[in-house]
C-alpha cells in the first residue's frame, strides 16, 4: 500500500497529470460493468455532481464564503449551452466553453455581495440571486418558461453521436477528472493558501499581502466555471432541461454533499457527492421529505461533525502516521 502511494507520488512529481491519466484509463471499462443504461446514467450524474461539489467547495470550503447561489449558476450553464446549440446551431464543443465563460462572468455578480456581506447575510443575498435566475427562466418565453427546453443535441465527434449514457460517459468522466485535477492544483498552490487565509482571517490576510476581494472573486469565478461546465454536461446528457431542475432543493442537496464530505476537503467532497447523489436517487419517490431531511442533515452535520467525512479520513491518516512515528522511535530506542 505504502509502495503504491510512493509510486504515485513520484509519478506525480515528474509529470503531474500522469496519475490522473491512469485514473481515466482505469475508469474506461465502467460502462461495460454496469447492468443497464440507468446505472450508467447515475454514474454520469455522479460525475456531474462531483464537478458541482468541487466548485462549491472551492468558494465555500476553502475561501469560506457562504454561497447559496450555486444552483443558479448551474442553471445558467445548462441554459447557455442548450440555447447556443439550438439557436446558433453550434456543436456541443463550442457550447461547453461558451457556457463555462458565461457562467464564470455570472460568478462575478454572485461574488460581489461578498465584498460587504458575511455569513447569513451573504447566504441570503446569494440565495436571492440564485433563485432569481430560476424565476427569470420560468417567466421568459424565449428560455422555454415553465415548459423547459427540449431537443438539446447530443455531443458529436466526427459523426459519432454520444446519444446513450454509456457513450456520453466518455465525455463526462474525463472532463470531471480534469476538473478535479485543476482544483487540486489550484488549492495546493499559493492561490489555495490565499483562499484559506481569507477564510481564516480576512484582516490579517490583507496585512499579509493577500488582496482579499480579488481572491474572493477568483474563488467565485472558479466555482462558477465548475457549475457552468456541470450545467452544460447535464443539459447534453438529459437533452431536456426545466426550471424544476434548479430549485432550492437541488441547492440544499449540493450543500449537503460539501458539508457531509467536509468543508475544505477535496477528497471529502467527492465522497459526499457520490453518497448524496445515491441517497437523492433512492429518496426520489418522497420529494416532500427530501428538502426537510437533507436540510436537517446538513445542519446536524455542521454542528456535530463540522469536518465531515474528510475530517474523519484525515484524523485516521494522521493517527496512523503518529503511531508509526512512535513505533519508529520505540524501535530506535530499543536498538
Amino acid at each position: 500500500m505504502t509502495l503504491i502511494f510512493e509510486a504515485v507520488r513520484r509519478l506525480n512529481a515528474s509529470f503531474p497529470p500522469a496519475p490522473w491519466l491512469i485514473l481515466v484509463i482505469l475508469f474506461l471499462p465502467f460502462p461495460l460493468l454496469a447492468a443497464n443504461q440507468y446505472q450508467i446514467h447515475l454514474i454520469n450524474v455522479i460525475f456531474i455532481n462531483i464537478m458541482l461539489a468541487t466548485g462549491l467547495n472551492i468558494v465555500k470550503g476553502f475561501c469560506g464564503q457562504v454561497t447559496v447561489g450555486h444552483v443558479g449558476l448551474y442553471a445558467i450553464g445548462a441554459y447557455t449551452s442548450a440555447l447556443v446549440c439550438i439557436h446558433f446551431g453550434v456543436s456541443f464543443w463550442i457550447a461547453l466553453p461558451t457556457a463555462i465563460i458565461v457562467t464564470g462572468l455570472a460568478g462575478i455578480i454572485i461574488g460581489i455581495p461578498s465584498f460587504r456581506l458575511e455569513g447569513a447575510y451573504l447566504a441570503l443575498a446569494t440565495l436571492g440571486l440564485g433563485e432569481s435566475v430560476r424565476i427569470f427562466i420560468s417567466a421568459t418565453e424565449f428560455l422555454g418558461a415553465t415548459f423547459g427546453i427540449s431537443n438539446i443535441p447530443y455531443p458529436e465527434i466526427g459523426g459519432i453521436v454520444f446519444d446513450l449514457p454509456s457513450k456520453i460517459y466518455y465525455i463526462i468522466m474525463p472532463i470531471s477528472l480534469l476538473g478535479i485535477f485543476i482544483s487540486v492544483n489550484i488549492l495546493r498552490s499559493g492561490i489555495g493558501r490565499a483562499f484559506k487565509a481569507v477564510r481564516d482571517d480576512p484582516v490579517s490576510a490583507a496585512t499579509s499581502g493577500v488582496a482579499v476581494r480579488k481572491y474572493k472573486l477568483i474563488a467565485f469565478v472558479f466555482s462558477a466555471m465548475y457549475a457552468g461546465c456541470a450545467g452544460s454536461l447535464y443539459a447534453h446528457l438529459v437533452t431536456y432541461i426545466h426550471p424544476d431542475n434548479f430549485t432550492i432543493l437541488i441547492m440544499v442537496t449540493l450543500l449537503l454533499m460539501v458539508v457531509l464530505g467536509g468543508l475544505g476537503h477535496v477528497g471529502g467532497s467527492i465522497i459526499g457527492a457520490i453518497l448524496v447523489t445515491l441517497i437523492y436517487e433512492l429518496t426520489r419517490p418522497y420529494p416532500e421529505y427530501q428538502m426537510l431531511v437533507f436540510g436537517m442533515a446538513a445542519v446536524l452535520i455542521v454542528i456535530y461533525m463540522p469536518k465531515g467525512i474528510g475530517g474523519l479520513i484525515d484524523r485516521f491518516l494522521s493517527t496512523r502516521k503518529f503511531i508509526r512515528l512512535r513505533e519508529d522511535k520505540a524501535d530506535a530506542a530499543a536498538d
Binding site: 503531474p16 485543476i182 499559493g190 492561490i191 490565499a194 481564516d200 490583507a206 496585512t207 499579509s208 499581502g209
Partner: protein, 266 residues
C-alpha cells in the same frame, strides 16, 4: 525618513484615539512605542497598515517616499510593511508552514493558469519557497512544528508563528504589537535576540509596542510615548525613563528610582 505621519487624527464616534500625530521613524531604527492602555498604540498600527482610515482630511502617512494614506492593506503590505497583532490573528486552520507561506505571498512567481495545470515551474517554485520558510522557522525556533495546525501550538509558540509570518513578508518596516506579552522570561530573551538579528542581518526597521519595559529599554534606540492619542515624549530609553511626565502618564504616578529598577527587572 522611512515612515512619517503628519497631523494624523482618528476618532471613533466622539472618542479621539489618535490626535494630530506627527510621528516618524528613520530607516534602520528600532523604535519603541509605549503608553498606557487605550493610548492609541494599536490604532496607530492599524492606521499605518491601512486597516483604519484617518478622519477625513486629517493627516497623511508617507512610507518610503510614497503617500500610502489611501492605499488598501494588501497594497501597503506589498510595499514592505509587515506587522503582528496584539491578539495574534494567525491562521488557525492552517499549518505553521502555510501561515508563513501566506506571508510570503508577494514573492511567489507563478500565475493562476500555470498553477491550475500544475506545471513543473510551479512545483519547483513551491519547493524553493518552502525551503526558504523552513529556514525561517528554524530561525524562530519552530523548525519541528512546520506541519502542525497552528491552533495546536502553545501560546508562546503561536506568538512566534505570528512573528515569523510577518518576517516571511520580508518587509522593510516591521511593526510588532506587544510581541513579548505572555512569553516566559527565556522566550523574551530569545525574542530580543531575534529582533536584533532582524535589523543586523536583514536591515529591517522595527517598531515595537510593548508594556514590558525591559524589552523597550534594551532593544530600542528611541522611544515614543503616547497618551490619549498624543505624543507626550520622545527620546532615548534613558531620557524617557527620567522624564517625569512620561512616568506619571504611564504609571499614573511618579516612581522613585527603586521602582523604576524593579519595573525593569520584570
Amino acid at each position: 525618513m522611512l515612515l512619517q505621519t503628519e497631523g494624523l487624527t482618528k476618532s471613533f464616534d466622539g472618542l479621539t484615539a489618535i490626535r494630530n500625530l506627527d510621528f516618524s521613524v528613520a530607516e534602520g531604527e528600532i523604535r519603541g512605542l509605549i503608553g498606557p492602555n487605550g493610548s492609541g498604540k494599536s490604532t496607530l498600527f492599524n492606521l499605518i497598515s491601512g486597516i483604519y482610515q484617518p478622519d477625513a482630511n486629517s493627516g497623511r502617512i508617507t512610507f518610503d517616499g510614497e503617500d500610502i494614506t489611501d492605499l488598501s492593506p494588501h497594497d501597503i503590505a506589498a510595499r514592505g510593511v509587515g506587522r503582528t497583532f496584539q491578539l495574534l490573528r494567525i491562521f488557525h486552520e492552517m499549518t505553521v508552514l502555510e501561515n508563513l507561506l501566506v506571508g510570503h505571498h508577494h514573492h511567489v512567481r507563478y500565475g493562476i493558469l500555470s498553477a491550475s495545470m500544475g506545471l513543473g515551474r510551479v512545483w519547483s517554485e513551491e519547493r524553493r519557497i518552502k525551503e526558504r520558510m523552513q529556514e525561517l522557522l528554524h530561525f524562530v525556533g519552530l523548525a519541528d512544528f512546520a506541519g502542525m495546525p497552528a491552533s495546536e501550538l502553545s501560546f508562546g509558540q503561536r506568538r512566534m508563528v505570528a512573528l515569523a509570518r510577518a518576517i516571511s513578508m520580508e518587509p522593510k518596516l516591521l511593526m510588532l504589537d506587544e510581541p513579548a506579552a505572555g512569553l516566559s522570561p527565556a522566550n523574551v530573551e530569545e525574542l530580543q535576540t531575534i529582533i536584533g538579528l532582524l535589523r543586523e542581518r536583514r536591515g529591517m526597521t522595527i517598531i515595537i509596542v510593548e508594556h514590558i519595559l525591559k524589552v523597550v529599554i534594551e532593544s530600542c534606540d528611541t522611544v515614543t510615548v503616547l497618551d490619549h492619542g498624543e505624543k507626550i515624549g520622545e527620546g532615548t530609553p534613558g531620557e524617557i525613563k527620567d522624564d517625569h511626565r512620561v512616568v506619571e502618564a504611564y504609571l499614573g504616578r511618579e516612581m522613585d528610582d527603586e521602582e523604576v529598577r524593579a519595573a525593569l527587572a520584570e
